[in-house]
């Protein structure tokens, strides 16, 4: 025991022991500092690692790389047991990590692309927010609206006439004018029949069919001439001859007498084909001189010519068969001429009268009896048509009584 106490009580052993303790303590202290540095380096690295992407974006990779290397160097120095150098590298590493963080801070925030799917109802590729016509497909150049070349509001793809403006009712085509009456078909109630605009493109009707359309016809239900505004001419005396043509508008008459009544003759009768005489025309014996007592009747004949200005007559002279035939024919012609001259003297125009002598050629009755011969001696007024040329039987023949 004492030997033991002696051993530890020796100065050399005491010094050794104190040195050993100091060494162990120093080693423990160094070990503790090294561990601390290693931990700090690890913490720094774990701080640095997640910054890589941001460092790349913000072009801070140089600082990142240097920080990374410095942290490695810390471990390297610690492996070599050089704590002061390790500490220096750790300080450098901190500085570089700080640089990385600062550069990231200064760097503009990362733009996260946001894909927004914009609504496009008409599927024309132009989103509704930019589409002037979101429900009608259209070109992008036209802000999503369909192209409308003629500007009529109807897109070309629906416009039957894309280059001519026209209403939608006509599929974008201008209204036509089929009947060329100047009224467009859409306003024309009769698009195939020309008519005035005032009657909506339809022709004016002509109810009474008088050729005067109802719009100017003052008597739409009564035919009338244009000169009288479509109304019939008045006919006061109701004789069928309108007043404007009626020389006797208040007395019923006949058309041949321009509305005047047929005159009443005492000695003659105007028939359709002849002027019938109530008695014979008397001549001087064997001469072509009219006897005075026949003047009254011939005056009435002249009056008839005045009353019927349209009639023309062939004055025929006839004889019986007694005596010279040639002479009879000549005398009958002369007597017809005499009558003609009488009438011309009374105002009848010569061109309305033709005198012809037939002699005995056209007897009415038998010449064998006195009565028959008496009937055959005569002068006739036969009415002829204007167109028919007068029967020129040559000059009169004698033989009339």
């Amino acid at each position: 025991m004492n030997r033991g106490n002696d051993l530890f009580s020796r100065p050399s052993w005491r010094r050794f022991a104190s040195l050993l303790i100091a060494g162990i303590a120093s080693s423990l202290a160094a070990c503790s500092v090294g561990t601390k540095l290693r931990n700090e380096a690890s913490v720094l690295k774990s701080d640095l690692t997640p910054l890589k992407d941001e460092a790349e974006r913000c072009q801070a990779l140089k600082s990142f790389a240097l920080a990374w290397a410095e942290i490695d160097f810390v471990h390297g120095e610690l492996r070599q047991g050089d704590q002061p150098r390790a500490n220096g590298h750790l300080a450098n590493a901190r500085k570089h990590v700080k640089d990385v963080q600062n550069q990231i801070k200064k760097c503009p925030a990362k733009v996260i692309p946001v894909v927004v799917v914009l609504a496009d109802r008409d599927k024309d590729g132009v989103p509704d927010v930019q589409d002037r016509c979101p429900d009608v497909p259209g070109a992008k150049e036209n802000q999503g609206c369909p192209v409308d070349t003629d500007g009529d509001g109807i897109p070309d793809n629906l416009d039957r006439c894309p280059n001519d403006p026209g209403p939608s009712e006509n599929d974008g085509c201008p209204w036509g004018d089929r009947d060329k009456d100047g009224v467009k078909d859409n306003e024309d109630k009769c698009p195939d029949v020309p008519g005035p605009r005032e009657n909506k493109g339809c022709p004016w009707p002509d109810t009474d069919g008088d050729g005067v359309t109802d719009n100017v016809d003052k008597c739409v239900n009564e035919p009338g001439p244009k000169e009288n505004d479509g109304c019939p001419w008045p006919d006061r005396d109701k004789d069928g001859v309108v007043d404007k043509d009626d020389k006797c508008p208040d007395v019923p008459g006949v058309p041949e007498l321009q509305g005047c009544p047929r005159p009443v003759y005492k000695l003659i009768k105007v028939e359709k084909k002849r002027i019938k005489l109530s008695q014979k025309i008397f001549f001087a014996y064997n001469k072509a001189k009219i006897d005075r007592k026949s003047f009254a009747m011939l005056d009435e004949v002249a009056q008839a010519f005045r009353d019927f200005p349209a009639i023309k007559c062939r004055i025929e002279g006839h004889t019986d068969n007694r005596g010279n035939k040639k002479r009879n024919k000549k005398l009958s012609g002369q007597r017809a001429d005499a009558v003609r001259n009488f009438l011309v003297a009374k105002g009848v125009t010569a061109d309305r009268l033709v005198a012809v002598g037939f002699g005995p050629e056209r007897p009415l009755e038998s010449n064998k009896t006195a009565k028959g011969r008496e009937a055959n001696r005569r002068v006739e007024f036969n009415i002829v048509d204007e167109e028919k040329p007068p029967n020129k039987g040559g000059p009169s023949s004698p033989g009339l009584p």
Binding site: L61, K62, L66, W68, A69, G76, T149, N157, L158, P162
Partner: protein, 122 residues
């Protein structure tokens, strides 16, 4: 005596082995780093380039302390990073070339009519 000389020479060779290997590696790393820089690695592969450069500097620093083992490790690390930087530069430049080529090959859109006034489908 000859046995002793041989032993000393061998010991010297072993002792000199560190600097030789270091010299070889540091030269390789230096060349690789220089090439990477010429290729544009600071722009295209900054992480690899700057880390390689840091390791390279550290390797030289370790040499000054005659700690060749660490120097070789750092030089090796520098060389690897420099080569990696070169590869990245190659890859990125190739991508750029392809993109430019594709852009050049895209035909210009044919000029179409200003408007289409033709008769639309009925």
């Amino acid at each position: 005596m000859p046995y002793r000389t041989l032993l000393i020479s061998a010991a010297a060779l072993v002792a000199a082995c560190g600097p030789i290997e270091y010299t070889s590696m540091i030269m390789k790393a230096d060349t690789a780093l220089e090439k990477a820089e010429r290729m544009g690695a600071p722009k295209y592969a900054p992480l690899e380039y700057w880390r390689a450069k840091a390791y390279f500097d550290k390797a030289r620093e370790e040499t000054g302390r005659n700690d060749y083992d660490f120097a070789i490790d750092y030089a090796t690390q520098a060389y690897r990073d420099a080569k990696k930087a070169q590869d990245i530069v190659d890859e990125k430049k190739e991508k750029e070339r392809k993109a430019a080529k594709e852009k050049a090959n895209v035909p210009a859109p044919a000029p179409g009519p200003a408007s289409a006034p033709g008769t639309p489908p009925r």
